[in-house]
Symmetry: C2
């Protein structure tokens, strides 16, 4: 079995990189990975049959994440990128343990690193899903790096719905931003004014221009896509599996449901046109655990 072979032998650099997300939001991360590592082959899996993860319990999120990762592992990936903040926050330990020695990279630690790199005052706001905020992993990852940081976390579930609907600017989006953020950012707000805002959900980068408009020029807006790409490049280089033999790699898109919707909504996140025929539908219910675990 391939999974056993991976445990015993070095994984060839020609193997693809696996990327998984609860749906299409992770395509903002894939976009950054493609920019940074154009010569690599990528297999992206969006668990669209069970999205969103962000309102579900830790137990369900771990179970769904392991099933998604097993399918990518079966395809012989040399590295696994968890492009979903919620899964990174809740399931990273379980994934790392199950798929060792295949490296598993989440977006949460790179997002925390980006925040700590951008802040001057140490006051950081994290916008994320309900489950990510509730789990507290972002807050912990930031204060591990910068113990004096003051982190305010806010669940913004409407942002996901707005992004999925393709409503990224205009008065409705600005109104929702005000409703979620005025308490944190407006003068006289009870909470210390952050100088840095972390987009802690992969859906949120498409709202960044409108967030910038509402918040003004003085707040740094960071997401984890670029720092995740840098972290991936570093891990691949360390393991000696960075690919050098092709200029442009391939992208395989897998989803658990709805190729039409995946193509329509996903094109916005990936930043390039997609057709339903670009998306292969897979069933996660029977993805086996790697042998030996």
């Amino acid at each position: 079995m391939r999974s056993k072979t991976q445990g015993d032998q070095a994984i060839p650099s020609s193997s693809p990189i696996g990327v998984f997300d609860s749906g299409v939001g992770g395509l903002t991360v894939l976009r950054a990975l493609l920019d940074r590592l154009p010569g690599e082959d990528f297999v992206y899996l969006g668990d669209t049959a069970r999205l969103p993860y962000g309102s579900k319990s830790p137990g369900s999120i771990r179970q769904y994440s392991l099933q998604a990762a097993r399918l990518l592992h079966e395809r012989g990936v040399k590295c696994l990128v968890v492009a979903c903040n919620t899964a990174s926050a809740i399931a990273l330990d379980a994934l790392t343990q199950e798929f060792d020695p295949v490296p598993v990279i989440g977006v949460l630690e790179p997002g925390a690193a980006a925040a700590c790199g951008a802040t001057r005052s140490g006051r950081i706001a994290v916008l994320a899903t309900e489950s990510t905020v509730r789990g507290g992993a972002y807050q912990a990852a930031i204060t591990r790096r910068r113990p004096d940081a003051v982190v305010t976390a806010r669940a913004c579930p409407l942002f996901v719905a707005l992004a999925e609907e393709g409503w990224t600017d205009g008065p409705i989006v600005e109104g929702v931003i005000h409703r979620y953020l005025d308490q944190i950012f407006v003068a006289g707000a009870a909470v210390a004014h952050p100088d840095t805002l972390v987009l802690g959900c992969t859906h949120f980068p498409v709202l960044a221009p409108t967030l910038r408009k509402v918040l003004g020029p003085d707040v740094a807006i960071v997401d984890s896509a670029a720092t995740t790409a840098a972290a991936l490049a570093e891990v691949l280089a360390q393991r000696g599996v960075l690919r050098h033999d092709q200029a442009a790699g391939s992208v395989t898109l897998l989803a658990t449901d709805g190729p039409e919707r995946f193509a329509r909504v996903g094109a916005m996140f990936l930043g390039r046109p997609l057709a339903p025929t670009d998306v292969e539908i897979v069933d996660l219910a029977f993805a086996p655990a790697p042998s030996g675990t």
Copy 2:
């Protein structure tokens, strides 16, 4: 086995009524059922681990609906109410076939009946999820009853997110309503002006007061909850299983994930306080098909 017994013998009137939904929205229907049939026992199942159904494919919706219904069937229900418009639109035939002779009642036909009862002009607007609109079942159910009806269907996914967030009034909600409906209702709109609006998703009734404010007094706003309760009462009476021996029945709440969120968000839809301990968590993955099917 109970399911076999149900096929061979009359189901006693003391059996509970099963109600299922993709999540907590169906509690608006349960509320109407409790008002109409206070002496019955109800078992409500919300498939919160996999919600929402409304953006998923017909195949997934059918599979999820059958699994949910099987669990209720195992609990010996005398009737099954599909409180989710999306599942009613996509999976009712499959459910009716699998659970015969247990009657299965969806909310879509009662919703269509309510619309046809309310309209004078025959111009009807249906607001629903993406999958319900795409499937065309509401449009078909209305025109079967009234062949000259002019039906305009509109997917309003943001309404679900707003209702789940508890944002039911104010400028953001009004802005979203205008964005979805101005094309249909504003003077000079391309589409014929409907005189009746069907709330074709169980999340939407909590937005009804704001819809009324935006649309004014001349549009009839109907949902399927009350007509579904009437249809259920009629079916129970026809089968001779209407319960007469208790004044106040019991309500059992089951969910596939997140009792805290179910209680918090569900209380708004049910219209009475709920505690997480009121919600029993069940696993649908292994719900067996009824014997003999």
